[in-house]
Subunit: 115 residues, 2 copies
DNA sequence: AGCGTTGTCAACCAATTGGTTGAGGAGGGC
DNA sequence: GCCCTCCTCAACCAATTGGTTGACAACGCT
């Protein structure tokens, strides 16, 4: 689980963390306290979730006095969709080739049947 | 980790499982033995990985005598990219609004400065 | 019927995860 | 200077994960 893609997918595997990402996307930067407020867990637990998101590169934190505003970084999201889309496309191309092959075989069979 | 999206992201968080998905996308259906061959782990470990992928809906297995051909299902991949793209777009729209707001404020400030 | 091949199930193990509580550090406000 | 707010670090805990080995079920072949 050491590479970035693994950390990113791992981070997105938790509903709370996905929810945090969604809120940051919709509402923009927020402090840890604001992020933690809606959840029924300790602030420390949310802080851990943010650390997971940060280690995955999905989020950055700057310093503003004693506040630590959390900012969503879209780059890693693109990394994930890039990976997925790449292989989904490969699968589609393979299906297209398979269909073409089947169609060709079918045609050949029909041709022989007609001769 | 009970909902489908969580299971799907969790499944993709492991490099071995991602590699399996990639191979299925490129080369098409394969048996458990074929899938396990390149890896330096036991067949049982790979079987467990396939179970994770199956529980996530990323893969289906049919029965052909004692073989269990594994087939990639692209639907859940779309589910993942759909989620990600949705919120990435939300973030972009928010940035666009923010930029517009900043530009308007800047213009207003310049206008006042010139008066 | 017996054997080989293919794959799963079960029990176990070490490491990781997601949560808790308690302590403490970093900065502003009085 | 002292406190209050915001947040992180550390230690601990139960549950899950990714791996192992051993047993065995399903099926084709001869």
């Amino acid at each position: 689980m050491s590479d970035q893609l693994s950390r990113a997918f791992q981070a997105m595997a938790d509903p709370t963390r996905r929810d945090i990402v969604a809120r940051l996307a919709v509402s923009g930067d927020a402090t840890v306290g604001e992020i933690a407020a809606p959840y029924d867990v300790s602030l420390q637990a949310v802080s851990k979730h943010l650390k997971v998101l940060e280690d995955a590169g999905l989020v950055t934190r700057s310093r503003d006095a004693q506040r630590r505003p959390v900012h969503l970084e879209a780059g890693v999201l693109d990394l994930m969709t890039g990976w997925i889309e790449r292989y989904r496309q490969q699968a589609e191309e393979r299906y297209a080739r398979l269909d073409a092959l089947l169609a060709a075989t079918e045609e050949e069979t029909l041709g022989r049947g007609a001769s």
